[in-house]
């Protein structure tokens, strides 16, 4: 037998330190083993193919001839054995964070547009010309003169169809977008806008910027305001001993997307696989030591938020036997962590201990909204179930508390995007969630004006750590 080990061949240390899930196959595709890149595995001498897949979907494999006592295989997308990797950038100047984003960030699928092919051609041709003119004029400060002339001379159909690319360009140039931050417990109405918040955005690509956020042991919400769209609120996965980073990307249609990264790379990797629906990879990472409770809760460096990610995964994948009693420790040791309650409550419910589960879940209002959408989903679903059951199992007082807790949570659940791992909901006032779109002018809301950050401070090749705020 031969001991086979792995080495990752990315450009950045961040990626090379990942405990990527890997699959070992024989040439006839028979699966030999699923393991992770940090492990050494025993295999019979022979030829093998080792595969891995990144959260953003890039997949690569390496061929290795195994003989003797040990063998080592380098795993890198740059191997490019697979033609499907042609979308992987070969840009040598790709900076660290940009490379991480490349392999972690979900690919953007533009929304469908109800235009016929003919209209598109027309729109592309005419709109492109007018748009270029408008764009140029905008740059010259003459936008309104040209826009008025264009508006007067073109028919309504052209304005709605043919000018679409041009109008999109204007929209992109002029659509306002702002960032705000809130701190506190929005469930109980105890929160405030962080008016002193002056984040520094570090450029990490042509259309991307990154900011780093220092953690606090109370709910921090980042809010993205965009013209014509509902305000989007996201619970930030940071606590006082751990930062998190937010990557803002300007999309082709002029809107911004936000991606979040935990400081714990294993948990971050797991979140990436969640978001892309890559369940096999997520399950493999969950099996790895890197996100085990032992690693994240019982070692010197505590990672309660990363541990929450691991716990949610164990719940998703039904590995109840691996949760033991450490969900109780997660709940008790971190008295500020809402997810500790959501996880413990769901764990108890899965064990059939429903009365205790109800009491635990009802305490969520003390700590605020969970950081992860699974936490809200589990809590709301369980409370609905318990309040709707005909079984006489619960105390009246507990049911009353459950009713009140559900009353507070349901408005958030109604506007939460449960596809996103981090709790993401809409509403200008994060304490009063709704799905109303904002108007065009956003300046009165304050916060960081993204339109004025078009140069994104910092440089593309700057590899210094991002500014802390």
């Amino acid at each position: 037998m031969t001991m086979l080990s792995f080495e990752l061949g990315f450009k950045t240390d961040t990626l090379n330190n990942l405990d990527l899930p890997v699959e070992i196959r024989k040439p006839n595709m028979v699966l030999v083993k699923r393991t992770s890149a940090s492990k050494t595995v025993e295999v019979s001498p022979g030829t093998y193919y080792v595969n891995f897949k990144m959260p953003a979907g890039q997949e690569a494999w390496s061929k290795v001839d195994v003989e003797g006592e040990s063998a080592r295989v380098v795993l890198s997308p740059d191997d490019k054995e697979d033609e499907s990797l042609s979308d992987v950038s070969s840009d040598e100047s790709l900076p660290d964070v940009s490379e991480v984003q490349h392999y972690f960030m979900p690919r953007h699928i533009p929304p469908p547009r109800n235009l016929s092919n003919k209209s598109r051609i027309l729109a592309g041709a005419l709109g492109g010309i007018v748009g270029a003119g408008l764009g140029y004029s905008f740059a010259e400060g003459k936008m309104w003169v040209i826009a008025a002339a264009a508006g007067a001379s073109l028919s309504p159909i052209l304005l709605s169809k043919a000018l679409e690319p041009g109008l999109a360009l204007i929209k992109r140039k002029t659509a306002e977008a702002r960032l705000r931050k809130f701190t506190g417990n929005v469930l109980m109405g105890k929160y405030s806008t962080d008016t002193e918040w002056r984040p520094e955005l570090l450029k990490i690509g042509d259309c991307s910027g990154q900011l780093t956020i220092r953690g606090e042991n109370s709910g921090q919400i980042i809010q993205l305001l965009q013209s014509g769209a509902p305000a989007v609120n996201v619970l930030l996965p940071a606590w006082e001993e751990n930062l998190c980073t937010v990557v803002l990307t300007k999309l082709p249609e002029g809107r911004y997307s936000m991606d979040f990264h935990l400081q714990n790379t294993a948990a971050d990797l797991l979140l990436g696989y969640w978001q892309q629906g890559l369940w096999q990879n997520a399950a493999s990472v969950t099996d790895s030591a890197a996100v085990s409770a032992e690693e994240l809760l019982y070692q010197k460096r505590l990672h309660p938020i990363a541990a929450s990610v691991g716990a949610y995964s164990l719940l998703r994948f039904g590995a109840l036997d691996r949760l033991h009693n450490w969900t109780e420790n997660l709940m008790n040791w971190f008295s500020w962590l809402p997810d500790g309650l959501a996880i413990r409550g769901e764990h108890l419910a899965r064990l059939g201990e429903h009365s205790e589960a109800l009491r635990v879940l009802c305490r969520l209002t003390e700590r605020g909204l969970p950081y992860f959408s699974d936490g809200l989903s589990y809590t709301v679903d369980r409370l609905r179930l318990y309040l709707g059951t005909s079984e006489k199992r619960f105390e009246d007082d507990d049911l009353q508390t459950a009713r009140e807790t559900l009353r507070l949570l349901e408005p958030f659940a109604a506007v939460t995007d449960f596809r996103k791992p981090l709790l993401t909901f809409t509403g200008l006032d994060p304490g009063k969630p709704d799905s109303k779109p904002l108007g065009r002018k956003l300046s009165s809301y304050g916060g960081l004006d993204l339109l004025r950050q078009s140069s994104w401070s910092g440089a593309a090749t700057d590899k210094r750590p991002a500014a802390t705020i």
Binding site: N28, V30, D82, R316, F317, G352, R393
Partner: protein, 413 residues
Amino acid sequence: MALVFDNRSNLDNQPGLHALIGGVSLYKHLPGGGGPPPEEDWELPQLSATALTGYKIYRWLIDHQQMLPIKLATVRLLLSPSATETPEIAKGMQEIRTALAGQNVILDDNYSPCNLQSFSDEARAWRTDARTNNLNITFFYFAGHGIQRKNNDPVLLLEDFGNPSVDMLTNSVVFNKLFDGMVPQSDPSKQIARTQLYFVDACRVIPPNLSKYEFQNISNILTGDLGGVDNRSAPIFYGTVSNAKAYAKGGKQTLFSEALIKCLENDGGETTDQEDENGYAKWRVSVYSLSEALNEKVAAIKALDIDQEFYSIPRGQNTTIVNLNAPPQVDGMIEIEPGKAVQFFTLDLTDSLGASVWSMSPVNPHPHPRRLPAGYYTIKATITNPPQPSYNNYSKTILVKPPKDYWLKARVG
């Protein structure tokens, strides 16, 4: 009689797969349904493909029962078809009868209407069957109108939805309650299928003015205790995400069911740790591989300018849904680069066991479309037409696997 397929007598108390399938196209109380109109119709139209989709899922189970991880035991089919779907379904039921003749399976061509009474009765009977063995598998599929009361709370609308003689939502099913009703019981000695597959192929939008309706009167289809240790593998595959619509090809089938069947038959294939008698890997579709393959289908849906996004939740450990008889087939292109060199080369493709799969000289048409079984292949481009230009022979091993198409380039220049 909804029990259209009953194979229990052949199973001799062995575990089996029990399916409950609902498909509603005809809504009696919506415009055009012939019944008294509802208090409001939320602009929901009659449908043309969802009952047929229910039948097609049944047909798929029948046609692929040898690929299921355990034997198909029962199928309960609840359909409310439109007038145009009815004859096609009747013809298909007859075909099934012919195909299964002599197999000692009890068949019934008469599916039940997908109304509250039938659904409630059959769901209970389905659960009773599920409770005969922990190793049973249950399969639930619903295609029809759906709404949400709140987020993450799908409600399935049945044929008699909107009947003005009862509350607006009385004749509907709260999916989460159905799911909760299938939980393992508190008494650990009592059994129930620990693998439960759920497919919800319906819109998930919140109708206007919904808040004025009481929801307490929605029927509890499956009541029971809150359950004991919930160690099910119970993935839920939704046809669409929260607050979005699901679509169908008019008169044919839903987009989700079409994608699902493609994934179950081919595109969701993944290798196992088993070899077949010819030395190739055995393939299967698992809960996780199906989820990933369905995700890949979303891009194709978006390309049709349709804002539908399949969504799945794993809820438990990975498990096999079907075993594939052969490696999945993958479409793709084979190309020599640069293209002007094509006349000088022979291209050979061999599989992982060295067997020749394909050879052509010169490649024509170029690029050459070719469907290949998934696997590792070695592509060789050899100069066969001297005088030799400034090109090189080329050889490389590549991986071909679903759900994406491949594109092989022999770079000879």
